[in-house]
Every structure is written in structure tokens, then in C-alpha cells.
Symmetry: C2
Subunit: 129 residues, 2 copies
DNA sequence: TTACTGTATTATTATTATTAGTACAGTTTT
DNA sequence: AAAACTGTACTAATAATAATAATACAGTAA
């Protein structure tokens, strides 16, 4: 279910955050559905429970899930209010354009620079950097 | 001339690589023009010369510059063969689309995931990761 | 009570970018 | 020839941080 790259520059917990967001947004994990417990998921992925907890905490901060001590962590309903349809269109267009750009020689580093520029110009609130 | 972010996840030397590529591609640094020496630039940016050297070595590996011991480092002509006009158009379109995507809630992490996906599907030869 | 949940804390390990210092080789200028 | 530049190479130390390890505590459910 999760394919993590331990040697990526992106920390494992952030990869987890991204992956879980994706699962939530694609309704693989449905609203109010319980996520695997920190210990269970840690065992499945053979990584430390603290790393899972860090990801869950981040997801909760960003409003994607809510956690109840003793019960578990669950998918939050509020985030689903985003216009997912339009978002999907943009994503597809984005993939097309990114592909073209990279064929033209734009490197991923340059793209990340562009992204971080845009991010800071937007106020930079949503990233966890 | 250079604005480096020492607390970025992206290492300083990679930021330098990106910045210098940009200057080369935009003809701010022209073909066969000499780049500042590793020691000079290090002093200007108040960072270690080794960091500059690492960036220069990377740029040389990627064919953007060539270095001659005792003389200096210079902009390579070969990389300028790219269709810069079309590239600029794509970049502008990209910025517009990326901005829209991030307004819709796509995080930079998600974008980087998309990029790395595309990168590996293209064969992934150009990145320095 | 037992066995789950989330949460918190401290210490340790591992990785990696960066710095620091030094040395050597080649070029240019005086 | 000498001085002052260039790039290059190498080792060691430092700093930052992700991840692990090991507990402990608190709430829930069987």
C-alpha cells in the first residue's frame, strides 16, 4: 500500500503525509474511516512508531485527520470540501506541462526552485518545511 | 546576485547550481565568459570555497561550464543549443499552472512527488540526486 | 483487568551538508 | 624567478536533522 524510499531527500514521515493525503483525497480512505494505528502501521512498514506518529500529527495539524486518544485516528470531513474535480483537471494539465518542460531540459531542481518561489509568494502556509 | 537560503532543504551547492544554470541560460553569463573563482565567490557569499567547488564540479559534469586549472571556469557553448524560446514559454505557462494548483490546495510536497514520478518515467538521467 | 488506542519525552544513532585547513598543480603578471 | 592568482584534492571536524529505541502515561473498549 505504501512504497517508501528510505534514501530519498524527502523524510519518510513526509512521504507518509503525502501518501495518506492522496489516499484521503482519492477516497481510498473515506471520511471518518479509521487509519491504522501508529504501532500497527509501523510494524507493517517496518519503521519506528514515532515516525508514524509524526506523520499523523502533521496530518492532524493540516486538518486531514483527527485523533482521539484511546480510540484512533480518523479521516476528517472538512478537507473534502475542496473542489476535487477542478483539482484533478489542473493536475492532469500539470503533468502534461511538466513532462514537456523536462523533455526540454528543465531539471527537477529547477522545477523545485520554481515551486518554492511560488510557495513563498503565496505566503507559504501550507508546506511543512 | 545570489540569494541563498541556508535553511532550505535544498543544499547550498545545489541552489548555486540552479542559479548559475539560470544565469547561463538567460545569457547573463555569456559563452566563454569566466565565472568568479571559487575563492572569490566564496568570499562574496560568505560560504566555504569547497561548497563553490562542489557546485562548479557539478556544473562541469552536466556540461554547463568547463574549468581549466590555473585559468578559471568558463561558460560552455554546447548547452546553449537548447531551444530557449520555447523553454521560456513553457516555463511561464508552468508558473501560471503551478500557482493555480497551489491555490487549490496542492502542496509543494505533492508537486515534488509528481515531478519525481515524471522524472523516473523519463528515465531520470538529468537530476543530480 | 487486559489489550488496545494516541501522546509525550529523552537519549542515541546515522546521514549528510558544510566548514576548516592544508596541500599541490597550472597560469598569469610583475 | 617570484608572487599571486587559478582549479583540484583530501582529511577531519562541526552542525543539523531524520530516524530509532525505550519508556511512560492517558483514554477507550472488550
Amino acid at each position: 500500500m505504501f512504497d517508501l524510499d528510505v534514501r530519498s531527500r524527502k523524510p519518510i514521515y513526509e512521504q507518509l503525509v503525502d501518501k495518506l493525503k492522496e489516499l484521503i483525497m482519492n477516497d481510498v480512505l473515506k471520511v471518518d474511516e479509521q487509519l491504522p494505528s501508529v504501532r500497527t502501521l509501523a510494524q507493517q512498514l517496518t519503521i519506528n512508531p514515532n515516525t508514524i506518529q509524526k506523520a499523523y500529527r502533521e496530518l492532524e495539524t493540516q486538518g486531514y485527520i483527527y485523533s482521539i486518544k484511546g480510540k484512533g485516528s480518523f479521516v476528517n470531513a472538512t478537507v473534502k470540501s475542496v473542489n476535487t474535480e477542478k483539482l484533478e483537471k489542473v493536475k492532469k494539465e500539470l503533468i502534461r506541462l511538466l513532462t514537456e518542460a523536462m523533455y526540454l531540459g528543465v531539471t527537477s531542481n529547477e522545477l523545485e526552485t520554481i515551486i518554492s518561489d511560488i510557495e513563498s509568494s503565496l505566503g507559504g502556509g501550507s508546506s511543512i518545511d
